[in-house]
Symmetry: C2
Subunit: 223 residues, 2 copies
C-alpha cells in the first residue's frame, strides 16, 4: 500500500500537509473525502470526522493537521521544516497557530466554508454577512503577513518553515475563490509568489474542483 | 524576574499551560490579562491579542498554547508530558487537537465564552441558542472521553500526558460554570476525579473569578 492522505481540496489543513509531504519529498496518494458525508469507514479511521488523515504504507494512521505536522518532522528528520533551537521552533509554531486558528476563524470559515463547502455539500446558503466580514478580515492578515515578509527572509526567520507552509496553504484556499486582494498588498504578494513557485506547490495549483473551477490567476506564477 | 504566564481564568488554553507548568514543577507567576481590553502593551507582546503567553525569566517570550506546549517538553525534557515514540506522540497530539479545536468550538465557545466572557467583558448578551447547543454537544464529548477512559489507563495510553491535561483544562473551565453533567457519565467522572486530585491541579481549584464564584462541587475532589 502506498502512503495515503485523506483530504478535501479546499480544506486548508489538508493543503498544508500536501505541501509538507511534497517539501519533504515523501510520495503519497490523495484520497478525496467529503467530511460532511460522514462515511462510517472514515469515522472509524478518525472519530473527529475531519481531514487530513495520513495512512502510512505500514498501516499506521496519523490524525489531524497538528499531529501530522509534528510527526513528519519527527519520523522524517531530513529536510526539516522547523528549526532546531527551541525559541525558533516556538516562533514557527506561533505563526502556524496564527493561520490554523486565527486566520481560519476570521477568514477561512467565513469565505471558504461559506462559499465553497456550503455549495458543494448543499448544507445551507452562504451568508453574505459572513462573506463581508471575511473580506474585511483578510486585509488585516495580509498586512501582518507583509510586515513579516518585509523584515524576514521567510515568515518565521531566515529559513523556510512550516510557518510559510501554513500561511500559503490557508491563502491558497482563499485564492482559489479569487478573494485575495493581492494588488493592495505587494509585500504579501511577493512572498506568496516565491512560495508558489516552489516545486512542492505544483500539485495544489493543478487542483480543479468539479463544478467550481479556479480563477485564471490561481495557477499563474506571475499573478 | 520570575517566569510569568499571562492568562485569563476561564480560558482553557491558559489553564492547560498552568497545569503543564505545575506538572513539570516549573515555578511561575500568573499575570491576569483581559484579552478583550486589547491593552497596547499586551498586543506588543502578542499581536494575536490572546492568552496564554509565557515570559521566561531571561525575557524569552513564547506565544500561544500550541507553541508553549511543545516548547515546555523541548526546553525542559524532565518529567515529559508526551511519550518518545512517534506514533504515541501523534496520538497525544490528536487528542490535544480534539479538545483545543473541536471541544472548544462545540462546547467551550458556546458555554464559557457565552456565559462567562460575555458577562465579564460586557460585550453582548449570552445567546440561549448557543448555550443549548453547547449543553447538547458536551454529552458527546463526555461519552467519547469515557470510552477512552474505559479502555486506557490515561486518555492517550498507559502514561499521563498532555492529552489528559488538555481534556481536564477544557472540562474544568466548563465545570466552573457547573455545566458538566457528571452524573450521566461515570467513566468520564472517574477519570476526571483522578486528574483533579493531582497536586498540579490544586491552584486551578482555588480559582475564584470576582463576581462569578464557582459552584460548590468545583473544588471538591469527591464531587
Amino acid at each position: 500500500m502506498p502512503r495515503q492522505l485523506y483530504h478535501f481540496w479546499t480544506t486548508a489543513a489538508a493543503r498544508k500537509i500536501r505541501l509538507a509531504l511534497a517539501e519533504k519529498q515523501l510520495p503519497f496518494e490523495l484520497v478525496l473525502e467529503r467530511p460532511w458525508e460522514r462515511r462510517p469507514e472514515f469515522l472509524t479511521l478518525n472519530p473527529a470526522g475531519e481531514v487530513p488523515v495520513l495512512v502510512e504504507a505500514d498501516g499506521r494512521v496519523i490524525i489531524g493537521a497538528r499531529a501530522i505536522d509534528e510527526y513528519l518532522d519527527e519520523a522524517y528528520p531530513d529536510l526539516p521544516l522547523i528549526g532546531s533551537d527551541p525559541a525558533g521552533r516556538a516562533e514557527v509554531r506561533r505563526l502556524v497557530e496564527w493561520f490554523d486558528a486565527k486566520f481560519q476563524r476570521e477568514v477561512g470559515d467565513l469565505l471558504v466554508e461559506e462559499k465553497m463547502t456550503k455549495r458543494l455539500s448543499g448544507l445551507g446558503q452562504p451568508s453574505s454577512q459572513a462573506i463581508r466580514a471575511g473580506l474585511a478580515n483578510i486585509k488585516i492578515h495580509l498586512e501582518y503577513l507583509g510586515w513579516l515578509a518585509d523584515r524576514r527572509t521567510y515568515l518565521a526567520g531566515d529559513a523556510f518553515s512550516r510557518a510559510d507552509i501554513a500561511a500559503a496553504a490557508h491563502l491558497s484556499a482563499v485564492d482559489y475563490l479569487g478573494d485575495v486582494p493581492w494588488d493592495d498588498h505587494p509585500s504579501a504578494r511577493s512572498w506568496y509568489a516565491r512560495i508558489k513557485s516552489r516545486p512542492a506547490f505544483r500539485a495544489l495549483l493543478a487542483d480543479h474542483v468539479p463544478g467550481a473551477p479556479p480563477p485564471k490567476h490561481y495557477a499563474d506564477l506571475d499573478f
